[in-house]
């Protein structure tokens, strides 16, 4: 009988924080290639070629910026062991906020005022959606993974209702969608051919990343969030209001995700199409992988965002067997995250096999 004994290392595995994410990505790609080959007959060579293309594709930049923001938002929540799986819903509500300002208020007259208002309202609505889930966990005890996931669907269907109903556009040529948002509310694309990013996207990314750093590294709130992820009991004994802290952590995470919703609408989509759940770029879920692969270290978020963004793009390019890129993305998130979760054990523990 072989017995597996797991013993905590006295010192963590050297270079573990680089080796393990790297190994997870490579093994994740290989496993995905295997599964795609077995189930869909996809040529692994084609897969690897598209992975390569993804890394150099200029469209990847958009994912890179969005995932950096979303990843940073998740690092804030995850550092406190608050598992915000609801960024899709928070992005959606951000889009609702930005869409409302852009389409239905007179603010669209002044570009600066409009854009600021869009971002602010997106931030607020995303933040509220996050606060709600946080409060459900903190004060009612409902697991935030279940609640945020369910709330994603509620958010999707709410936006769907708006688009099909009061927000239905007047010039839609038979499609169910909103009008284009006024040109004054659209972000300004950078003058590089093929690039889908805008100046505002870049500015927002820098601001969100800087804010996240500041919050986690320079404020008492940040330290408490980090301790929350390690030992909430110690916080309680120290005199911190832990339920409030949990709620705020999810709220901030949701607000930042809401900003991405505004950026997606104003910088890329320019209109909202029905049904939103089929059109979403799934970034809210992909960001989970980004945050984990960066080992919850903000400095590694841009790197992880770029890598995962490239793979996401590769999935889109692959378009295998009539599937949308989302299936491939999910597959990849799954294999990589699973590998990562298992490999991470090795950095903190050493495994011995006893016969």
């Amino acid at each position: 009988m072989v017995k597996v004994v797991v013993i905590r290392r006295v010192k963590p595995l050297p270079l573990g924080s680089v080796l393990i994410p790297a190994a997870s990505i490579i093994i994740g790609i290989l496993l995905s290639a295997l599964i795609l080959y077995v189930l869909a007959g996809t040529s692994p060579v084609l897969l690897f070629i598209n992975v390569g293309r993804g890394f150099v594709s200029i469209e990847t930049l958009r994912d890179f910026l969005m995932l950096t923001m979303l990843g940073a938002a998740l690092v804030i929540a995850f550092s406190g062991a608050v598992w915000n799986i609801g960024e899709e819903g928070q992005i959606t509500f951000g889009m609702i906020g930005a869409g409302y300002i852009a389409l239905f208020t007179a603010l669209s007259a002044s570009p600066a005022a409009a854009k600021v208002a869009m971002i602010v309202l997106a931030l607020i609505l995303g933040g509220i959606w996050g606060l709600l889930a946080g409060a459900l966990k903190a004060y009612v005890g409902i697991d935030e993974v279940a609640s945020t996931l369910i709330m994603n669907y509620i958010a999707y269907y709410f936006l769907d209702y708006l688009v099909r109903g009061p927000w239905m556009g007047k010039h839609t040529y038979g499609y169910i969608r909103t009008d284009l948002i006024p040109a004054t509310t659209q972000f300004t694309p950078i003058p590089v051919p093929g690039a889908t990013i805008t100046y505002e996207d870049i500015v927002l990314t820098v601001i969100v990343l800087a804010f996240s750093f500041f919050l986690l590294w320079k404020t008492a709130l940040g330290v408490r969030i980090k301790v929350l992820g390690s030992n909430p009991d110690a916080l309680r004994a120290a005199g911190v209001n832990v339920p409030m802290l949990i709620t705020i952590a999810l709220g901030i995470s949701g607000a930042l995700a809401g900003i991405v919703g505004a950026a997606q609408l104003a910088g890329y989509l320019h209109r909202i199409s029905y049904p939103i759940e089929s059109h979403t770029a799934n970034l809210g879920y992909t960001a989970i992988l980004v945050a984990w692969l960066a080992m919850l270290d903000l400095r590694a978020i841009p790197i992880a965002a770029y890598i995962i963004g490239s793979l996401d793009q590769a999935g889109r390019l692959l378009q295998t067997a009539g599937l949308g890129g989302i299936a491939v993305t999910n597959l990849f998130i799954g294999t990589t995250l699973l590998t990562f979760t298992v490999l991470r054990v090795f950095s903190e523990y050493s495994i011995r096999i006893i016969r």
């Binding site: 006295v10 008492a220 005199g239």
Partner: protein
């Protein structure tokens, strides 16, 4: 299934070795718990394992019960070499462990707890099949239990009895008791002694872990003394006196240990902490604190003596706002803090050394700086890390905390250094009141003395009031200006520190 192991003639061959431990070594991060230990257990004997805290007694029996695996060494049961890698293995070899805290599952019934270990019943068997069997077994052994009662409803004594019954039903030939009966009332304890004797006479063997020399001499046939992981010696009870054994336990330190009282402080007039008719519930809905009254003056050290589990932990948690006060009042410097959030209590300048220091005091994944900055009394809003780092360095220097840097996650520090971080931090922030539970637990002798001196100094020169609960009676006598004894949720005696009679205190602790 034999309940009482018996030989055909009813007479047990005296020199048969039932258990042999050879060269067992066990290391934990930062400490060698057992160092090439050799140990023999004979059939039909009650063998006491003596030693002070950290001697390795618990570690040895946990290895025998498959909870830990030894780094080196061999174990032989009835002459055959065995590998014990789980409690199931141990039970299969006839070894059963009963520890201080019952290992039963509260939400299940007695029968359900017991059936889990009965290998002959497959997974499809009905629990009902086992009930009659349990009733008969309990009658045979002389322990009365209702198999259908849920374990959380039982008292501590009853739970321990169920544990022993379970061990016997599972065919244990060797009973290992890890301080399992230390906290039983004297009357129950004597019942157990009689039962253990009967068990041994019938061919079973008992390993009894205790730190009370007198208990060992009362009930055991042989005594093995461990010190710092090594076997000091094995003696027959007839051959030694209490002093002999004490010398073995403490060796050359026996004369060096000065349980001399530290110079007393002069309590001031102000009342720092007042507890009035306090009632607090424990974890199972039963009252743990039953109408406690305390008055603590500024500059006074009040030591609370008592056996663990008599309400001290609940009292301390209630004062800190971590447990609900059902009835009564708590006042700190005149302010009513009954059921007030912990944050407000901390703001009053209260330091807290919790009963479970790692769980309630520290964050293992974070470093020393973060463990200091997480306290709202130290950092609010934007943090000045320069200031925090300076504080961290002061603590490291004063307490000689061994750590590569202030940025090392403290989970990488040894147990003793972890405690140093906690204790030093709390001593630093306790400007008005310190609530301490086992303040020197896991600390080496030198640091323990340092901590006690600092506590007395803070009381004397800064007027800090100190409420110290300690399981170490010597420590209580060393530092307290006033000694209170807590038993069964009540304060059963209050004595001035310099005039307290040790025997009387001990008597009140165990009555």
């Amino acid at each position: 299934m034999a309940i009482k192991p018996q030989t055909p003639s009813g007479v047990v061959p005296a020199s048969e070795t039932v258990l042999m431990v050879r060269g067992v070594t066990k290391r934990f991060p930062g400490v060698v718990a057992l160092d090439k230990v050799n140990f023999d257990l004979l059939r039909g004997e009650v063998h006491a394992l003596l030693g002070e805290n950290g001697a390795g007694k618990s570690t040895l029996v946990k290895i025998l019960y498959g909870i830990y695996s030894p780094d080196e060494g061999e174990i032989y049961v009835n002459g055959r070499k065995v590998t014990i890698s789980s409690p199931s293995d141990a039970l299969r070899n006839g070894l059963a462990l009963v520890s201080q805290s019952p290992q039963l599952i509260d939400r299940l019934t007695v029968a359900e707890n017991i059936i889990l270990g009965l290998g002959k019943y497959g997974l499809i068997s009905r629990v009902g099949m086992v009930k009659d069997f349990i009733i008969k077994a309990s009658e045979d052994v002389g322990i009365k239990v209702d198999p259908d009662v849920e374990v959380w409803k039982l008292s501590y004594t009853q739970k321990q009895l169920v544990e022993i019954l379970r061990a016997i039903i599972l065919g244990a030939k060797v009973l290992m008791l890890d301080e399992a009966i230390t906290f039983l009332p004297i009357r129950e304890k004597r019942r157990f002694y009689k039962f253990l004797r009967k068990f041994a006479d019938a061919g079973g063997s008992v390993i009894l872990i205790t730190h009370k020399i007198k208990e060992a001499l009362d009930v055991a046939d042989r005594i093995t003394v461990l010190r710092l992981g090594k076997v000091v010696g094995t003696v027959k009870k007839e051959e030694v006196t209490i002093d002999d054994v004490r010398r073995m336990m403490f060796a050359e330190r026996a004369s060096q240990i000065t349980y001399q009282r530290l110079p007393p402080s002069q309590p001031r007039e102000e009342i720092a902490l007042e507890v009035e008719k306090l009632w607090v519930k424990g974890d199972h809905g039963v009252f743990a604190v039953k109408g406690v009254n305390l008055k603590l003056r500024a500059g006074e050290v009040l030591g609370i003596a008592g056996i663990v589990g008599n309400g001290q932990k609940e009292l301390v948690q209630a004062i800190m706002g971590l447990r609900k006060c059902v009835r009564g009042r708590i006042r700190i410097y005149g302010r009513d803090v009954t059921n007030v959030p912990t944050a407000k209590i901390r703001e009053l300048g209260v330091g807290y050394i919790p009963d479970l220091p790692i769980r309630y005091g520290l964050s293992p994944d974070n470093n020393i700086e973060e463990n200091i900055a997480m306290l709202p009394v130290i950092a609010k809003g934007i943090i000045s890390w320069g200031r925090v780092r300076r504080l961290a360095r002061e603590l490291i220097e004063e307490f000689k905390i061994v750590t590569p840097s202030t940025k090392t996650p403290i989970k990488l520090l040894s147990g003793g250094n972890l405690m140093k971080v906690l204790v030093s931090r709390e001593l630093m922030i306790a400007t008005k009141l310190l609530i301490a539970y086992n303040p020197t637990r896991a600390l080496d002798e030198a640091t323990a003395i340092l901590v006690r001196r600092i506590i007395k100094e803070k009381a004397r020169s800064e007027g800090v009031a100190v409420l110290a609960v300690s399981e170490d009676l010597d420590e209580i006598f060393q530092i307290s200006d006033t000694i209170a004894v807590m038993n069964s949720g009540r304060i059963v005696g209050v004595f001035p520190g310099d005039k307290a009679d040790r025997d009387e205190v001990e008597k009140l602790m165990v009555m």
